[in-house]
Subunit: 148 residues, 2 copies
Amino acid sequence: MINRLTTNQRAYLAGFLDGDGSIYVRLKPNTDYRFNYQIAPFVVFFQAKKEEDKFRKLIALIGGGVWRERKDGILEYTLNRQADIKDFLQQIKKYLILKQTQANLMLQILDRKKKMKDRQNFIELAELIEKFRTLNYSKKRIKHNLTP
Amino acid sequence: MINRLTTNQRAYLAGFLDGDGSIYVRLKPNTDYRFNYQIAPFVVFFQAKKEEDKFRKLIALIGGGVWRERKDGILEYTLNRQADIKDFLQQIKKYLILKQTQANLMLQILDRKKKMKDRQNFIELAELIEKFRTLNYSKKRIKHNLTP
């Protein structure tokens, strides 16, 4: 469950997600699923372990996600339930500037996924998911190594 | 000159700065300055070149800074005038969560810098500036290389 956010919280979290978050969908090969792929959507926030207290305070605004500490000392907070992702993005999307396209694409994918009936629907969905690759590609190459 | 920001813009920009911005002061050896150091404060925002249009839209909210394109394809937008930094941080600081300490430290440094009279004042100021190193240290090591 995602918290009901105030207007300021929505604007703040939109800025934070635009600055350092990620919205994406993974297609994972998995024969337990229909059409042999699991469709796994994510909204992820990152922060250095040393900022854990403040980061937890920030994340407490949201609710609903899961924590992970990576081996490189980065904390990740992930929304991975479809209802949570949908609720969160619907609350903040009008405040997004950099990632509004991704948010709308994600909402479209979640909607199509729900209505998916046949292999043709699945292929169309996979094509939408492929769009994230183009949208997100350059982001991963930003390295903050020039900040003193 | 920094624009007069709405409440939502303040909250958004605080989130964006918390996510991906940087607040710091450089002490640059320079014999043209009193005590042989230039005190250079900065607030910087970063973004990949491919997001230039959206990033410029975002930055247009603020006003007052300078653009730079780094050789690695990252765009930087920097506030480097003291009056601008002060005005901007005063407008957004109550919405900051991760970098509120840095914002307050910067405001304190700008205030002390203005009142600086003698070498003792300069040394105290240099000690305050040194605090940024501890506050910002881990941030530069975050690499977004696990985002697909």
